[in-house]
Amino acid sequence: MLKQKLLILYASNSSLDSPIGAWSLYDGSGREKHMAGDADEPPYASVMAAMRDGWRVIQLPQLRAPAAGAEHATAFLEYEFVLEKMVEA
């Protein structure tokens, strides 16, 4: 049976070629368990590098104009790319 594995990559800007600043892995097969602080290096140098390794991009971050009056406000990471692989479980 195929189960979904998600890799979430937070890129430096909206380009799929840009360096990765943060990442998460959620494995629906239950084989791997990942948590906060369990790795020091990103699994891929960029979203493109992950695509070349077989990951499918299922979400591109929308580019949004900042709210008037809050142009410099920062909160969440803007460039969140969600990728998937289907793995046997």
Partner: protein
């Protein structure tokens, strides 16, 4: 005025850039052991979740001075000249007690707390609380300790809204010798790490609030050190091209802390404040 030297402008600029300052071994070993013993013996009751009729529930909002008098080791830790000088350098005199908590992670606890910011989303512009995290025993990496994300403190998120994130370039684990202190801005993103040793891990956290404007309350001898701009411009690597926005927001905090509305780095704010038609 405390006897020990207060923080320098460069150190405070580092706090504004990173949201944290680390002091390894600032508490002597014997006093650390005594403080641990007080915590193991029940320690001062935390107001967090306390019965509203209990004395602890009435602590938040009181002056810090003298509040821990019935716990002589913890009281002595807070009155160490080096510790008191750091508190005064960031908050000014007579800080307000907010709350404390002894976080104990059991031996062989493989679970990591998710990333979060404490309390609730804090919309204050420049004023800040500090959280003192004391590690009274040796805390090697396999014991945790607290992981924090330098440069995250000015981002406005609510508590565990960031729990989806697992790892960041530049994240730091507080692995440290006994008697170490991590002081964080209230907004810092952090998470308690797994304890893979056979011993419980204890971290004593104390949150304090400023009583008055936090303006030039440190040792300002080096206020015009040209390296301050470089410190405020640190790129922590994980927020990508937002780095210039981060620097702009740090400049705003530095202006508030120094009372200098024209302070700038690399012309970032001066340029966009020049609005002759506005």
């Amino acid at each position: 005025m405390t006897a020990a030297r207060r923080l320098t402008s460069l150190q405070v600029a580092g706090f504004v850039a990173d949201g944290a300052l680390r002091f390894d071994g600032i508490v002597p070993r014997a006093l650390s052991d005594a403080a641990l013993a007080e915590l193991a013996g029940g320690g001062p009751p935390s107001p967090f979740g306390a019965d509203p009729s209990s004395p602890a529930a009435g602590w938040p909002g009181k002056p810090l001075a003298g509040l821990f008098r019935d716990w002589p080791a913890l009281s002595a830790v807070l009155e160490l000249p080096a510790v008191a000088a750091v508190i005064e350098s960031l908050l000014g005199p007579d800080p307000i007690y907010d709350h404390h908590y002894a976080h104990v992670i059991a031996a062989r606890n493989e679970w990591s707390q998710p990333w979060h910011a404490d309390a609730i989303l804090d919309p204050r512009g420049a004023a800040f609380d500090i959280q003192l995290c004391f590690f009274f025993h040796d805390t090697p990496r396999e014991m945790g300790g607290t992981m924090y994300l330098p440069g995250s403190h000015l981002r406005r998120v609510n508590e565990s809204a960031i729990a989806r994130y697992q790892n960041f370039v530049g994240q730091e684990a507080m692995a440290c010798p006994a008697g170490s202190l991590l002081i964080c801005h209230h907004g810092i993103w952090h998470c308690g790490q797994p304890n893979r040793t056979d011993r419980a891990r204890t971290m004593f956290k104390l949150r304090l609030n400023p009583r008055a404007p936090q303006r030039l309350v440190w040792d300002t001898t080096d206020l015009h050190d040209p390296r301050i701009g470089k410190v405020l411009s640190r790129d922590h690597g994980w927020y990508g091209h937002d780095v210039r926005l981060e620097i702009a927001n740090r400049i705003r905090v530095w202006r508030a802390l120094t009372g200098d509305p024209r302070f700038d780095v690399d012309f970032w704010l001066t340029r966009i404040e020049n609005d002759p038609l506005g």
